[in-house]
């Protein structure tokens, strides 16, 4: 099938990030998401290549078919045509820890080169500069989903050699560390930023450049990262959004709540 790709300038970076997130979801998969970009990405996937993906929100909505954008993970909007509306032990315990979740989406205030995540403190534990929201269900998701997609902005202060606080476990300190710790899930598999996509080297479990977004240079990526990124020889350009994806995406969030219209 010939894809009808949009050209640079016809889509925003946030739109590209949502499309990258959507493409990380396979049809039929059980997807654990929060509000914001991951919600948009999952809704897009369901309306394109993954109609039978099942979207789970930790507040208790299972197999949601929301048609309106929700502001809270517990938003009644997420109950629309859901399979079930139950509670946290159902979603985070029975579904997720029980081994039924294929892919979980999370954000990060900081990540390190093993995909470990901080969403709790910036600065010192005793006297922090900023107190972030905390784990929520983030640690639960990253601990137990079969794979994890991290969506975040690409900044040097966010991609660090050493986290201020380790909230959610990536590959900890390297190969086999998750298994040794007793964790059930597969760990992080993809990081989507405003500059690129990154995955993890299967040997070292360290983060690795996967695709560079259209119009972005390798140097921009390296300038905005605080740890040694593995850069393979040939890094492809990120597949741009198709016109179809863009049209559907803009219909999902018509008021630009999470993806503001292009200025």
């Amino acid at each position: 099938m010939d894809k009808n790709y949009a050209k640079l300038g016809e889509f925003t970076t946030l739109e590209l990030m949502a499309v990258c997130g959507a493409r990380a979801i396979k049809n039929g998969e059980v997807v654990f998401v929060g509000t914001g970009l991951p919600m948009i990405a999952a809704m897009l996937a369901k309306r394109t290549h993954a109609p039978n993906a099942k979207i789970v929100y930790e507040a208790g909505f299972i197999d949601s078919n929301a048609i309106d954008i929700a502001l809270s993970i517990a938003d009644s909007r997420l109950g629309y045509r859901a399979s079930a509306a139950i509670g946290l032990i159902e979603t985070l315990g029975l579904l997720l820890q029980g081994g039924h979740v294929d892919v979980g989406f999370v954000g990060a205030a900081q990540i390190d080169e093993y995909g470990n995540i901080n969403t709790t403190y910036i600065g010192d534990f005793e006297n922090p500069t900023v107190r972030l929201p905390g784990s929520g269900g983030g640690n639960d998701i990253v601990s137990s989903a079969k794979r994890i997609v991290i969506i975040m902005t690409h900044e040097k202060r966010k991609m660090v050699k050493k986290l201020d606080y380790l909230t959610s476990p990536g590959f900890l300190d390297g190969p086999k560390a998750r298994e040794k710790a007793g964790l059930l899930g597969g760990g992080p598999s993809l990081v989507v930023t405003n500059l690129c996509q990154m995955d993890f080297d299967p040997e070292t479990k360290r983060i690795r450049l996967a695709t560079i977004h259209p119009g972005v240079t390798l140097q921009q990526i390296l300038d905005n990262i605080g740890f040694d990124l593995i850069v393979p020889e040939n890094v492809p350009t990120t597949e741009p959004p198709t016109y179809e994806e863009l049209v559907i995406l803009r219909a999902i969030d018509p008021h630009g709540i999470y993806i503001p219209r292009q200025g």
Partner: protein, 303 residues
Amino acid sequence: MVEAPIEDKRITLKEAAKLIPDGAHLFWGGFGFQRPPMAFAHELVRQKKRNLTVYTCGSEIDIDILSGAYVVSRFELAFFAIEGIGLAPNIQRRIREGAIQIEDYTNLAMALRFLGGALGVPFMPLKSMLGTDLIAKTKFRPKKAEVITCPFTGEKVVLVPSVRPDFSIVHVSRVDREGNAQIDGIKGEDVEGARAGKKVIVLAEEIVDTEFIRSQPDQTAIPNIYVNYVVECPWGAYPMMVYNYYDYDMEHVRMYYQQCKTEEGWQKYCEEYITGVEDHMEFLKKIGMERLLKLRAKKPFPY
């Protein structure tokens, strides 16, 4: 033959808040924007409660208000923010002042801690938190979590301590005078949390006849045996939402967030909407009937 008199557990919101002594430990119900006991938070502020410890999974403006007014000094929780908008403004300031301490768990860990308390066992097992600072670092609990080796499989398992707070505070869809409560839509961690408290206060959008409850016993989320007090509290989660009843008021929420970025802004909000009004009904009148009626859920949507 004797007809059972219906037990009447109804009290007013003011009376309910008066039951909470300074220093008490509370389970705090609702999750995210859904069914937070907002009116109860307001009343605790009006009654100048101090030094409470609050246990919850994830809460938002409700616990930010409790923090701003110095009602709570300790939280054990997994998440706080004003979702979709930003960090909870008052909590940030109170943490910097040293007025609030937070012991961090995950949402699953907190929900299981409530389940463990409700089940009468001293801990619950889980597979989260392993390998992270959630286990390695503690603020004030002498024993926050223990990693043990499973005697059956040899694998590592985390034990988290159960919680039996002095009071559980939950806001539900409807309840009868005896305390049988129904919750529409998601239950969050309220089913477990309501059973964990030594005393339980149920606030509800409406009080219904007990025969309505008893004609469909499989719809009861919290049976009367667990419940000590019942408070009729319509629009009790405003400006947040109640499934099948009303939507959130994003205009008010954004105003709260913007205004509370400064201490002066928060003091003004608190005076205008909480301490400056006599009670919950006066608060609702201040918001205005027109505004409230617009937020009513539009059937068949639950929002």
